[in-house]
Amino acid sequence: MTDKNGFFDLSKTGLTRRTALKGLAAGAGLAVAPGFVRYSQAQSSAPIKIGFQSHRTGIGAAYGRWYERTTAAAVKAINEAGGINGRPVEVIIEDDGTDPGRGAEVVGKFATQHKTDIVYGTLFSHVVIGSAPAAGEAKMPYFVVSEGHHVASTKLNRYVFQPGITDVKSQIQAMAPWIAANAGKKVTQIFPDFAFGYDHRDYLPPALKAQGAEVIAQIAIPPTESSFTKYFPQIPAETEVIYHVMVGPAVLTFVKELGEFYGSNRPQLFGFIDSLEATDINSPGLEFLDGSHFWEGSPRYAQPDDSAAQKAYRAAVGIDDNGAAVGDPKDVSTAAHMFGCWETLFVVKKAMEDAGYKGPEDRAKLVEATEALTEFAEGPEHPQGPKSFNGKIHQCFGIQNISKVEGGRLNVVHKTKIEDGLYEPEGDYTTQPL
């Protein structure tokens, strides 16, 4: 039953007993040192512990980096203003590798090892969905900044909230009136052939139809595709607007090839900035986007009518007027999404204070206090704009920005209203037991 001819012998090196013992001792030392440290329960004077499930590695790393910066800035602001219920806030970060399996383990680690008060900060939908069961089982309030429709769909559980960023269904619905009125009535969609694209595939046609416009073609592109030219002949000639939501590294090639296909005589282009988050809009190959429009949650570039709160937020997070890191113009932010971290943390503060939150034993109270919230006024805590919150579906609704690419920057040309993105609730989390 063993290998006689060294089938698995990957190398032929000697090993003394002393060396092996040293290795084992080092391994044992590693095992018992940090991971096994016991953390005491938070006391009334102890910090509020927020477990930050961060995408430090994996496909979400660019977002994760900026989510961490925004979180650090928000926590600094909260602590300088007296913390939460007079207690300082401490953020404990764990990397989930942008992997749902690891994500669930990280939630478990926050709940049972770090013993954080809440878990927060997840962006990628599959990680949220993969982690939500662990949060529900641990009865751990889980505040995500994901923009996916999964929270509002009420398919997760009562402990999952998305109070700081609108969901994609709401965003698409809010875009439709502007597209129909300003860009064109015959729309061809190009989207990645996975869930992010499916949200757009499913929600845009009815939203446009309600505005007297129509989707005349839907072109799904496999996520593994690296060249797109062969798909462009599928775009009907009568297309007035190309609605594109390509994401990932291939987006530069996509735009370049689309430019080569159309030349100077192209339909209107409308996209979601998700495609180009953390990417310089002036990158070579993106010239074709000049004059096109994008959805932005929060504007990347400073706008002439920015509120004092918006200016203060940008300064606190450390982004310049072009939406890049102060002192490093090449380090472009994920401005359209990361404001959600700032706003979510202030929602947590408000809900904890409303609940008189003292420690993990008050988590159920925190859930109920969050569900009782209804509106967030625009201001230092909500610099992106005012929001309404539906406690039954754990989802906020807010304004959206439509920006035009001109002169190498994105200028906001239209802001939607909160009502533009409202839809009928699909369920009610408050009927679930705590």
Partner: protein, 320 residues
Amino acid sequence: MKEASPAKAYALHLGVIALLFALSFVLPEYHHGLLARIMVLAVFAMGYNMLFGYVGLLSLGHAMFFSAGLYGAGLAVIHLGWSVPAAFAAGLACGALLALVIGLLALRTSGVAFMIVTMMFAQVFYLIILYFAAWTGGDQGLVVPQSARVLVLGDTSLGLTNPTVRYMSALVLFSIVLLVALVIVRSRYGRVLVAIRENEERTKMLGYDTFSNKLAAVVVSGTICAASGAAYALLFGYVGSTFASVQYSILPLLWVLLGGAATTLGPLIGTLFMYYVVDITSGYTSAYLLIVGIALILLVLFFPRGILGTVRQRWLGWLP
């Protein structure tokens, strides 16, 4: 190599099971939960080891068998409302059937071609999951409702979300698979598999139908991996296409290489080791995969046959 007396081998394995049982009462909460997950994934590694370790067939597509169990059980609960035992059986059946079909096709190749063919089939399986997103949840995956994850035994209802029930369920599955693996590798059939690995032509010459034996091994391996996937869906409540990606075909290979290929306990050791290296090092640096890589290189240098493989080679020749 010395042959262990059956009593010695079984005593060791029962001792490991007893140790895991005892750990349930002393481990801190976090490690208790983590070990439950590790035991489930160690079953995945044991399934992989059955083919890689004992038959010498290196597959790069075992994520599809794990996912067959994961989706077979998960979708049966989500869409059909099946009970936990029925859903688990559905997961096993999906894995076994898939393994039979893949085995019939892939075993026409060997060596590098076998690796490529299994990887391609796994990729097809992965893309099918994405294609039928309306049913599978695509790349986002689906949550198996907490209310459906209840094991009803007579008058007793056991919630699989309860940490103790989950740990014990994982332990029961792990123990059954470990003992089945031990019985197989000590059986005449197990010896035939090793003979095929060492010299297939000679085994044929001795009158054995190597294709049938290899096919049976693929089915056993695929079914064990599916058992792991089905348990993962039911115990942890999530089914997602990430588990069908190539990464999850590579992981069991690493776990088995680390713990010791063709050792019955190696998959557990390898999975345990890898999990804790990632868990501990990720607390210090985002470059933890670099540390994992270095750890792997060191293991290859100093434990070329994996941890238990080297222990067996140097000290305990009787280890099964």
